[in-house]
């Protein structure tokens, strides 16, 4: 199924929850609403015509316009087609619905995005920091992150 | 030898020290040699050379190791139960060393020529379990506890096949005194219990399958009792770090190892006495005598030590439940069949 067809289908089913899309890009992407991520992903996974059963990658993003976001790279083992989804949220209210109930793999990916960008995934079963220490200050991959002078009494920049 | 010494020294404590010393000297020398053998055998199996620099082919390396271990700081973890922690390795070694008392080294020398020798060895070597449990408990380390529990379960389970296999040999020879057992088998390789003992040919042939089975099981159970691969679960380094001796270092650690190596020889020696004619020569009267006896029993025992080393560096490790399964559901039923068969044949 081409990206255009996927987009049309999603638009027809979810209306406003599906935002802009760039279908002529190197890898076409579709933007979806951050409050209905789970519903849309569930649909994409369970609908036999899409059957996106494989979440290749889930990456946090800090966009140049100051918004945070998450990019999902989906793939279907049965149909061998791909699509990229994007969600965005504001810095002030960084909440995005979790998709870990749809794909088990999203669990750790979302924890990583939370760890690095401070994006809170609503309905996530176990949202803890994963790579940084539990007491690490701030979210390191945000573009405005300042490396602290000291971390637990250790001097950081050498 | 006891009479000879008694006539020279008379009844004094020196006599007992002199009688008790040879096994200790033997254990120490033997352990050094075996450490070297084990390293070399494993290395050559693995396309390596192992020790090459300390002495020709590294034969002085075990001595250097001992010197290093002697100099190491003797640490006791702060949260450990100190008296038990310190006592444990010595208890393990005592259990093993006590076993050597009834192990014959030649027709002329045995530490203590008691009538229940074989039984005594089985019984006294169980002290090792207490030592291992103590070590595990006193270390105050969860991995050590795991190791200690495993070793207790394992040694207790494998003592039964050992004792039953021993019974098979005892039924044929009719004595628990290891010297008598060996004298029974004198007169060449075909008189060994593993080949049915010095009995009429028909009886021997009938006994053969049972004695061979019992002998193999005795050896397997022996490997299990000394906690070596594939039965090295108590110190399974990939699971339990180092098991009961995780927290030990320096000389205490070395004593655990000494005990393990000594135990390897003990089980091999007992198996050799019971089934392979102990110190008796395989060629009848040729090359036999008290001194040749020492050679034969050490050679036989050491062959099985070598076999244990060989097995250790070849096989993977069993899991706990599989270990128990092997003992209770495979070895023991087989031995009951052996016991029954041997008894029947002997009665008929």
């Amino acid at each position: 199924m081409t990206a255009q067809e996927i987009y049309d289908n999603l638009k027809a089913k979810f209306g406003d929850a599906v935002g802009e899309a760039k279908l002529d890009a190197l890898q076409p992407w579709i933007a979806i609403s951050e409050t209905r991520t789970r519903e849309i992903c569930q649909f994409l996974r369970d609908e036999p015509t899409f059957a996106f059963d494989y979440l290749s990658c889930l990456s946090g993003m800090d966009y140049p316009d100051g918004k945070l976001g998450v990019v999902y790279h989906l793939f279907s083992m049965t149909h061998r087609h791909k699509i990229v989804l994007r969600t965005m949220c504001t810095r002030e209210h960084p909440h995005i619905q979790s998709v870990s109930a749809v794909w088990g793999t999203a669990n750790w990916h979302e924890r990583e995005a939370y760890d690095m960008f401070g994006i809170v995934f609503d309905e996530h079963p176990d949202l803890r920091r994963i790579l940084c220490g539990d007491d690490y200050p701030g979210y390191p991959l945000r573009k405005d992150f300042k490396v602290p002078e000291f971390y637990n009494g250790m001097k950081v920049p050498y | 030898m006891e009479e000879l010494l008694q006539s020279i020294i008379g009844e004094s404590w020196i006599l007992y020290v002199l009688l008790a010393a040879p096994p200790l000297v033997f254990i120490l020398v033997y352990a050094l040699v075996t450490v070297w053998t084990e390293m070399k055998v494993s290395a050559h199996m693995q396309d390596r050379l192992a020790y090459m620099y300390t002495g020709p082919h590294g034969i002085l390396q075990p001595v250097a190791d001992i010197l290093k271990l002697l100099q190491k700081e003797d640490t006791v973890p702060a949260a450990a139960d100190k008296p038990l922690f310190i006592m444990a390795p010595y208890l393990v070694f005592i259990g093993t060393y006590a076993g050597f008392a009834a192990l014959p080294f030649s027709s002329a020398y045995i530490g203590s020529d008691i009538n229940l020798g074989a039984f005594y060895i089985i019984a006294v070597s169980s002290i090792v379990v207490v030592g291992l449990l103590m070590a595990g408990w006193a270390s105050n380390n969860k991995w050590s506890i795991f190791g200690a529990m495993r070793s207790a379960a394992q040694i207790v389970s494998y003592e039964i096949p050992t004792a039953l296999a021993l019974l098979v040999a005892v039924m044929i020879t009719g004595s628990l005194n290891l010297q008598d057992v060996i004298r029974f088998q004198e007169g060449g390789i075909l008189n060994w219990v593993v080949f049915g003992g010095p009995l009429p040919v028909v009886q021997k042939l009938l006994l053969l399958p049972f004695t061979v089975t019992a002998f193999l099981i005795m050896f397997i159970a022996g490997v299990a009792e000394v906690n070596r691969t594939p039965f090295d679960l108590p110190e399974a380094e990939s699971e339990l770090v180092q098991g009961y001796n995780t927290e030990y270092s320096g000389m205490k650690f070395a004593i655990f190892y000494l005990a393990e190596y000594a135990n390897m020889y003990l089980v091999s020696g007992v198996a050799a006495c019971l089934f392979l004619g102990g110190w008796s020569s395989p060629f009848g009267d040729f090359m036999s005598g008290p001194l040749w006896g020492v050679f034969w029993i050490v050679a036989k025992g050491y062959f099985f030590v070598f076999l244990q080393i060989w097995i250790r560096w070849t096989l993977p490790r069993l899991r706990v439940d599989q270990l128990m399964y092997t003992s209770w559901k495979v070895l023991i039923p087989f031995l009951f069949v052996c016991l029954f068969g041997v008894g029947l044949i002997l009665v008929l």
């Binding site: 290749s56 803890r128 390191p140 | 490790r317």
Partner: protein, 393 residues
């Protein structure tokens, strides 16, 4: 911080009755396995809830080796500079990391790669796959208590490292595959030496099969242990031998082709459950063993037909891809290694996200090891074949 210590819902602690009729209360023990433990393959910490020897729950804790790969990548002044950092992610398969990263940047740049480079990359990646699988298999043998196959594996891995060393001077972190080409041409006698290696390597494989793969104890320890069903594997996005071990016929080298894998004859190996159930530890182990054989075939074919030519395509020293983003995946020895690169048109990447296969494969661990024994857990962790450098990045 939120702490989750919940037991699985289907677990019921069973109070046992003693002969006197009183209830014997048993309690679970919390056991820390790692970060310093012989068989966690690095600095992985597993928090185990154990009931005797039975593992009730496993909570993996990672991050002890986090070296901020993604942050470093954003701060480079050149796309090429990221490659040494990519090397250090999965330090057992650096060649494959380099290649995956180079593939992603090349896709952003839309450039063509010289023919000879394609061959060299394939040879290097497959040699690396063998080297990496050798470690996986060897350490797995140690996990199972067999020490000897481990050293046999290392002996042959040394020969691969020798080949790498004569090619690029490094034995572990190569920085060899660059965007647009490779750093050096192959040295003289490389081809013959590689052929020699392939010939001898088959013998090693047979030896390992003899002493380990079909060893009764080894089969008893690994068959039916840590069974990962097909649907769970896909749901958790497992990849590589992990996914193939569960019987999914899926290999990115064939199914999402890159390089020149389509020109050679080789087969994708999947777990068939010969020793137990499909998707058990033995299957995963066996997939790796068989993959090494396939890689040997690939190397032999590639070495025999390698063309002459340039080893660098004409690209500027300072790469400035046009703004855009790309997610490119390739088959590293551990599975789907993907790089998601966002470019804003400048000379340094705006965002680089590495989708590390070991990270994703490890996330399924607690799913497949509940109810196993402690010894089984070691078998399961070993069969996942993690490299903590990649899990933590």
């Amino acid at each position: 911080m939120k702490e989750s210590r919940t037991l699985p819902t289907d677990y019921v602690s069973s109070p046992e009755r003693t002969s006197s009729g009183r209830t014997l209360r048993t309690d679970e023990m919390i056991l820390n396995m790692g970060p310093q433990h012989p068989s966690t393959h690095g600095v992985l910490r597993l928090e185990l809830v154990v009931d005797g020897e039975i593992v009730v729950d496993v909570i993996p804790h990672i991050g002890y080796l986090h070296r901020c790969f993604e942050k470093h990548a954003e701060h480079m002044t050149n796309y090429q500079q990221v490659i040494p950092y990519a090397d250090r992610m999965d330090y057992l398969s650096s060649m494959c990391n380099d290649w995956a990263y180079a593939l992603a940047v090349e896709k952003l740049l839309k450039i063509e790669i010289p023919e000879r480079v394609q061959y060299i990359r394939l040879i290097m990646a497959e040699l690396q796959r063998i080297a990496s699988h050798l470690i996986a298999v060897g350490t797995y043998a140690i996990d199972m208590g067999a020490f000897t196959p481990f050293l046999w594996c290392f002996r042959d891995r040394e020969r691969i490292l020798d080949l790498f060393e004569m090619t690029c001077g490094a034995r572990l972190l190569y920085n060899y595959i660059w965007v647009g080409g490779v750093s050096h041409d192959l040295p003289p006698r490389f081809v013959e030496k590689t052929k020699d290696f392939c010939r001898d390597f088959r013998k090693t494989l047979k030896e390992v099969h003899d002493v380990l793969s079909y060893n009764e104890i080894f089969i008893k320890r690994t068959a039916n242990v840590g069974v990962l069903p097909k649907d769970v594997a896909i749901n958790y996005a497992c990849s590589g031998p992990m996914l193939r071990g569960s019987g999914v016929d899926w290999d990115l080298r064939r199914d999402d082709p890159y390089g020149i894998y389509d020109r050679f004859e080789w087969a994708v190996q999947i777990g068939k459950g010969e020793a137990g159930t499909v998707g058990d530890c033995w299957d995963r182990y066996m997939v790796r063993m068989r993959e090494m054989e396939e890689s040997t075939k690939l190397i032999e074919q590639a070495v025999a037909s390698i063309p002459e030519g340039n080893v660098q395509s004409a690209i500027p020293k300072r790469i400035r891809p046009e703004a855009g983003e790309v997610y490119v995946r390739s088959e590293s020895p551990r599975g789907e290694l993907g790089f998601y690169i966002v470019s804003d048109g400048t000379a340094s990447p705006y965002r680089v996200k590495a989708r590390a296969p070991a990270f994703v494969n490890l996330s399924v661990l607690s799913e497949i090891s509940r109810g196993a024994m402690v010894a089984d857990l070691v078998a399961i962790v070993g069969s996942v074949d993690i490299v903590l450098g990649e899990v933590d990045r």
